[in-house]
Amino acid sequence: MAMNAEMQAQQATKQEATESGVEQTRDRRVFVPRVDIYESGDDLIVVADMPGVDENNVDITLEQDRLTIVGRVDPVAPNGYTLAYAEYAEGDYRRTFTLSNEIDRDHIEATMSNGVLRLRLPKAAPAKARKIAVKAA
């Protein structure tokens, strides 16, 4: 089985979310999506692998500095077939990040294609120093 060394090194089995402090309301396994995070110019880019999630089933919330991404999976079960052999389990995705930079939350862009979520988080302009005039009483 030929495989690129990098692929081999980085592809382990899907990691199941262990403790999130949040109770699930759906009887579904929850996985931690693999992500790449990088800075590109004035943007912070978050790329997450969430196979099986379409653009309507993804929720992104930013609360204080906590960015949470949730993807819900519609299970693929071919009609009339029974599962004979399984190497991966299907489930939802959830992951929370703490962002160190102040993010301009009005201009966050998210796109979803081929099971990959791509978030563009522009950094807010640094708060301008304001001079406060002292009035004579």
Binding site: D49, P51, A77, Y85, Y88, G115
Partner: protein
């Protein structure tokens, strides 16, 4: 496990025997899966019925044009590649967990399939390959005649 002091043993033969036992134990651990190997990529689920097989695989972020699917007899081969995230000059990488590169995987199916009728769809990063069983391979019901 091999750091026990030598002087605890009365003869070198005993030490040799101990070493032999350690080695045997090490090899039996190996065969029991103590040493983990990288899992095959992509992970697949296989669904079957009388008519054929459906193979699903999670392959997020792949250009469908870069996916090659071939069937020979009862062996399905999936291959393709995923490009790494292009990071512009001066960009700072905080985290890189997503794998990239080339992959090839062959899966042996429980029966020969009709290569001409194989269909594959790629949706939301999940590949679904439907492989109908070869007509002459399908089980036939044999009627029992009264003698």
């Amino acid at each position: 496990m091999l750091t026990r002091p030598f002087w605890g043993y009365t003869s070198p033969w005993q030490e040799m025997n101990r070493l032999q036992r350690e080695i045997n134990r090490l090899f039996s651990d190996l065969s029991q899966g103590m040493v983990s190997t990288a899992p095959a990529y992509p992970a697949v689920n296989v669904w079957t019925n009388q008519e054929g097989v459906v193979v699903t695989a999670e392959l997020p972020g792949i250009n469908p044009d870069d996916l090659n699917i071939s069937v020979l007899g009862n062996v399905l081969t999936l291959s393709g590649k995923r490009e790494p995230e292009a990071i512009q000059e001066g960009g700072k990488v905080h985290r890189r967990e997503r794998g990239y590169g080339q992959f090839t995987r062959s899966i042996q199916l429980p029966f020969d399939v009709d290569a001409n009728k194989v269909e594959a769809t790629y949706k939301n990063g999940v590949l679904t390959v439907t492989l109908p069983r070869l007509e002459e391979e399908k089980p036939k019901k044999i009627a029992v005649k009264a003698a």
